[in-house]
Symmetry: C2
Subunit: 206 residues, 2 copies
């Protein structure tokens, strides 16, 4: 019997997952959490085999952090991420945090069940769409912006001028332009607005 805890801030989603899983004879939903903290607490108290974890709680992406904390428990349950989005950054973050798998909420039920059983058995469970994306990422010489570059770009995406960014980060105008120039060349664009757009569609910014 696979004992599962569901962590999602949407009651509707929790009810849906519970309905799908409870229909299976070998799976039992033993708890529901609506916040990351609750998820970690339930994982510790109930010691389930598996935690189904959303990445978004309210506005923040606190799921990855919660995953990390669950995996740091004494007898860590496996964590299967179940979320709406599939930006590269999210996936990598979740995997890095110790998730055994990554499923999308629009996945057909049989995929969800297969993922649960695989994850509970200690295997990795990636939705086909996700697996493809990860492979593509390995194949493609992926764009990796440095932390500083992302920091600059994030401020730019909020409408900051080079001078604004320089002030905010305590560096000079010239340095900001230098960082941006690198970002432009990495993303293959020639303007800050295009860079923001490209970074957004790559999941570097949100």
């Amino acid at each position: 019997m696979i004992r599962v805890v569901i962590a999602d801030d949407h009651p509707v989603v929790r009810a849906g997952v519970r309905a799908l899983l409870d229909a299976e004879p070998d799976i039992a939903v033993v708890g529901e959490a609506s916040t990351p903290d609750e998820a970690v607490a339930l994982a510790a108290d109930l010691a389930p085999e598996l935690v189904l974890m959303d990445l978004q709680f309210g506005d923040r992406a606190a799921g990855a952090d919660a995953t990390r904390r669950v995996r740091a428990l004494a007898a860590p349950p496996y964590v299967l991420v179940l979320t709406n989005y599939d930006t590269d950054g999210d996936i990598l973050g979740a995997v890095e945090a110790g998730a055994s798998g990554y499923l999308l909420k629009d996945a057909p039920p049989h995929e969800l069940l297969a993922g649960v059983r695989a994850a509970a058995a200690g295997q990795s469970a990636l939705a086909p769409a996700i697996a493809g994306r990860l492979l593509a990422r390995l194949r493609e010489p992926r764009v990796t912006l440095s932390v500083r570059e992302i920091e600059v770009l994030r401020l730019v995406s909020r409408g900051a001028s080079n001078a604004d960014v320089a002030r905010r980060l305590h560096i000079t105008d010239a340095t900001v332009k230098s960082h941006l120039a690198h970002v432009f060349s990495k993303l293959g664009v020639t303007s800050r607005t295009a860079a923001v757009s490209a970074a957004r569609s790559l999941g570097i910014l949100r």
Copy 2:
């Protein structure tokens, strides 16, 4: 007995809504649609009292359009929008398309049930969070960009230069700058990147 059709592309969400509604003696889920087209077809065939409609199908926001088509049927069911997001543009679009209400997926179950019963009775059903937002929008002299201005801004948000926009829209560079100048003054910003950011947070762009 309130007969309901659920339209959502996420199997998990459909299962959740069905589980919540089927537990009520006075509500029956008579159909599930995973695409907008299917939703319209089911609404026509089954003649339910109510269609619970998601706004996002896959990547596109086709829900508003489907709502419009459902409301254009001979014996139009009421439409209750159930979605994740609550940007002003989405809400207005849905209401304009003929939705009787607008609920968020993170709403507690009792709110969902109350919304379903209210909508089925022909009353309007707005989640408290949504109602507040609409009121705020009425109170505040809200920013309204003209269609053309939004068109220009959309291209700018994709990284287009003024010249690019001009070419794309078959107008001159000067006109693009004129539109942008208006947008800047309406949004209270001084740069294209800031305008895009502001428009995004206002729900004018996505």
